[in-house]
Subunit: 200 residues, 2 copies
Amino acid sequence: MPRPSLKDQRSKEIRAAFARCVARFGLDGATLEHVAEEAGVSRPSVRHFVGNREDLIDALAAHVQQDYQAKMETLFAWLPQTGRIEALIEFMFAPSVVSSSEDVALAQALMAAADRYPSVAAPLKSWIMEFDQLIQNELSAHAPNASPADVAGASFGILSLYFNIDALSQLGLPERYGAAAKTAALNLIANLEDASDGAD
Amino acid sequence: MPRPSLKDQRSKEIRAAFARCVARFGLDGATLEHVAEEAGVSRPSVRHFVGNREDLIDALAAHVQQDYQAKMETLFAWLPQTGRIEALIEFMFAPSVVSSSEDVALAQALMAAADRYPSVAAPLKSWIMEFDQLIQNELSAHAPNASPADVAGASFGILSLYFNIDALSQLGLPERYGAAAKTAALNLIANLEDASDGAD
DNA sequence: CTATTTATGGTCATAATTGACAATAAATAG
DNA sequence: CTATTTATTGTCAATTATGACCATAAATAG
């Protein structure tokens, strides 16, 4: 009887538009007008399909908690059986990915606002900690004799490089910094192998 | 004849208050009311002593360009003659510094807003690039035989760890991440020594 | 075709932020 | 003491963001 509901579809689109606006303007700078224009709908429609600003933020937090984690796990599931670490580094620090990763920009914006918007802190924290754990798993499998402390350090270093190369690229840093990030990541891994070789 | 001017003193205080507010609330979240309250003056006084919002941002950019660079150079000048790298890492990743470094939080907030406020991008960029250059100098002196690419990677890695440990600490990550950051930094340096030893 | 539900847009009220001007108090040179 | 400059506060207008309600159009079941 009723007109078919577009709520699921529109909600996704609007939430995605909100994510893009937050990545570009920050959480405080992403006004509902921005979101509406980015989503191609009117501002009252944003309210109709998702709700008020708080609802948008909650939806974004749920997005991080669910879709981000799923995307991350898909990435690790798609790594080849051999050369997993190399493939992972290649993916994380490929120039095309680095310059077009809205996920990282969104994560940066949410991190910057985490203390003001507590509802986004928990999903972000669990996502990052799980990301770290997956990298640690790969590193441990790659260098079984490396110490847990070194594995934890290398994983955190790779994550930091991944986040920072995106943040700093917004400043218009020279191209060589992208190469430096990849070099550092590979050296952190090589150091694990050296240490484990030496410990044998 | 005139009443003595407090402009220099008050300008500094207000600019420092603005810096603290930006570090805490982000550039968009730092309202003039916040700044006035943080500085202990009225909002019209903020306008009287520094100017409008744009003037505040320009003053902050100048602050980064001048005081930040001076503070950074003072740090490197104070490093001991021997064990300079170790002292630098100790300083950058000491728990007390990491948890109380408003400079890094401010830098993060400005980086996040660099694309929206172009006037802050250039000072930030030059500060970071000079910071990177000073670290590279130390690393090159410490491991003369290391390749320039590895030195650049290690320097960028240390900078990334330095920035990220602060950003992530706002999420309430466990204490061990601080230790992981320091471990990663030291391993990046150790890798330079190993490579240079091997190249001899 | 009719009724019901949803989509979409219009509009107003309210709060927050900012810019700007006016007014008063204070301090010092002469 | 007087004049001049500065400090400080009060206040209002304009802009913007947001929330909320209402009206209209559209689509589908029956």
